[in-house]
């Protein structure tokens, strides 16, 4: 990079020397060279800022969840922890985000005075409408994910992939990629590709990385890793 810059300014200096000797102006050669270098660096800095700071912000739109759900409050109210709402069906499929019917045991009428609950009861319970939750971890259509394999098979904790949502007091905004329509949780926030926590993102390489450590990683003839059909459908 720096080699390139020097090279460029050399060329420019050379041209400038010729020009100044030709028409005998007072412009000093080193002066014009450093201006150009300055502009170059300024432009570089600006495009870096645009690329690393502005673009990622522009790339995602924020959407508010229809309701602010409080996990912490509800965990005190239910009998069997997460499984009261997020359970496995008998055939091994995962129920995912709860349906309205699962809330009605308690919320058939207003329990308290909070704004969120009033909204919930008036807009959804009374009208019998399902809450259109936005799922942070939603994978693209072509991806098959199995909670059964990871909970029963691999004994993983929810936290490993979802972070602390399960114990949060309110829901963060959902961020949608303007180009692909996918959630920001898939590719993560860190544009340099750094990952601190296991739940920072969940793209193809993140699944594959863990599978590699787990040693279930060799059925594909094409790649020598997991066959595509393990995770795709």
């Amino acid at each position: 990079m720096s080699g390139n810059v020097e090279h460029k300014s050399d060329d420019v200096n050379h041209d400038a020397k010729e020009a100044s000797s030709a028409d005998q102006t007072s412009m000093t050669t080193s002066g014009s060279g450093s201006y150009i270098l300055l502009f170059f660096l300024l432009g570089l800095a600006l495009s870096m800022v645009a690329g690393w700071v502005v673009f990622p912000k522009l790339l995602y739109t924020q959407k508010k969840q229809p309701l602010d759900f409080n996990h912490k409050l509800h965990l005190k109210e239910v009998d069997s922890d997460c499984a009261s709402c997020h359970f496995f069906r008998e055939d091994g499929t995962f129920s995912g985000v709860p349906a309205l019917e699962q809330c009605l045991d308690c919320h058939y009428e207003k329990l308290g005075e909070s704004v969120e609950e009033t909204l919930f009861v008036e807009q959804y319970v009374d009208k019998g409408r399902q809450v259109p939750w936005l799922v942070y971890s939603r994978q693209p259509d072509c991806v098959f994910f199995s909670h059964s394999a990871h909970i029963y098979g691999a004994n993983l904790e929810c936290r490993t992939c979802h972070g602390d949502i399960g114990h949060s007091e309110s829901l963060k905004p959902y961020e949608e990629n303007r180009i692909t329509g996918y959630s920001k949780n898939i590719w993560g926030s860190n544009i340099a590709g750094l990952k601190q926590a296991t739940w920072d993102r969940m793209k193809m390489d993140d699944c594959a990385q863990c599978h590699e450590t787990a040693g279930i990683h060799d059925s594909s003839v094409q790649t020598g890793r997991d066959a595509c059909f393990v995770c795709h459908k």
Partner: protein
């Protein structure tokens, strides 16, 4: 084998179709369409443009009445293993790694989001089992609500084909995990066409598992045999009535056919007029 350090022994899913039972009703084709979100158009008269993961062909013995006989041949993707496991005609030519072969199940996959539509695989496939999407699918009004969430829909410009209803395998795995089993039961993983066939002509299962019906009918040979051209034939059936389509090519498909009629068996492997089946395996007879 490489699979040994993973949790399960490798499987080879395949099917055997009894052509003496097939009536050509097409129920398998319909079941396949609805199971796999296969797109269709208002006008399907030009069959070259139709997408049919499962297609029923009709052949006859070329004789005049009253000796004329007809046979219907249902054709899903044959899930070729090739000369060595995974050397399927389509997999070996795909420049994008969009199609893959799993050593664990023997199934040839197609990842639509990865495919860029060069159609090299279609040229390589000897069975015309692959189809190109010339258009984005247009569902009749309201029908998109009835699409299966277990199979991702395709878009214009990609190739698609039969997956042996792989999503059903994924669901069967889910069930196995929930029941703390490692293995998928025969009844838990059956393709849509197998279940739809009113004549019970299709039998599906793991060809490597002696407990599965498909293994018992096909009785695949453990040994590799060579045909006259020096091509390895893997898993050749030891049932004299069972054959594979164009078996002589060495594609080593996992779809077998069963018929008691010799002309049908001969048509399936494209015999030259007075060639005898024994001729093809001349070398095998020597030892």
């Amino acid at each position: 084998m490489k699979q040994e350090h993973t949790q399960h022994r490798s499987k080879r899913y395949g099917m055997v179709i009894d052509l003496d039972k097939c009536t050509g009703c097409g129920a398998c084709m319909v079941a396949c369409f609805s199971e796999n979100n296969v797109p269709f158009k208002k006008d399907e008269t030009d069959k070259r443009l139709s997408i049919t993961w499962m297609k029923v062909y009709r052949i006859d013995n070329g004789r005049d009445f009253p000796n004329n006989q007809v046979c219907y041949i249902p054709r899903p993707c044959q899930h070729c293993a090739g000369q060595h496991e995974g050397h399927s005609p389509c997999v070996s030519v795909c420049p994008a790694t969009a199609t893959d072969y799993s050593r664990e199940t023997g199934i040839v996959s197609q990842i639509y989001t990865r495919c860029f539509g060069c159609r090299y695989c279609m040229g390589a496939c000897p069975y015309h089992a692959r189809y190109f999407n010339w258009w984005d699918p247009v569902w009749p009004e309201g029908m998109e609500k009835y699409l299966s969430p277990n199979v991702s829909p395709r878009m214009r410009g990609v190739v698609e084909k039969c997956s042996f209803c792989f999503h059903r395998y994924q669901l069967a795995r889910d069930k196995a995990y929930a029941n703390r089993r490692k293995d998928v039961k025969e009844a838990d993983y059956q393709t849509a066409c197998t279940q739809a066939c009113p004549a019970g002509a299709i039998t599906f299962g793991d060809l490597n598992n002696p407990g599965h019906a498909v293994h018992q009918i096909v009785k695949p040979n453990d040994h590799v045999v060579k045909n006259k051209a020096g091509i390895s034939i893997i898993g050749k059936s030891q049932n004299p009535n069972v054959f594979r389509m164009l078996e002589r090519l060495g594609t080593n498909t996992k779809v077998y056919y069963l018929s008691s009629r010799e002309w049908v068996r001969k048509a399936g492997d494209n015999y030259i007029a007075d060639e005898k089946p024994e001729d093809m395996f001349a070398e095998q007879k020597k030892h």
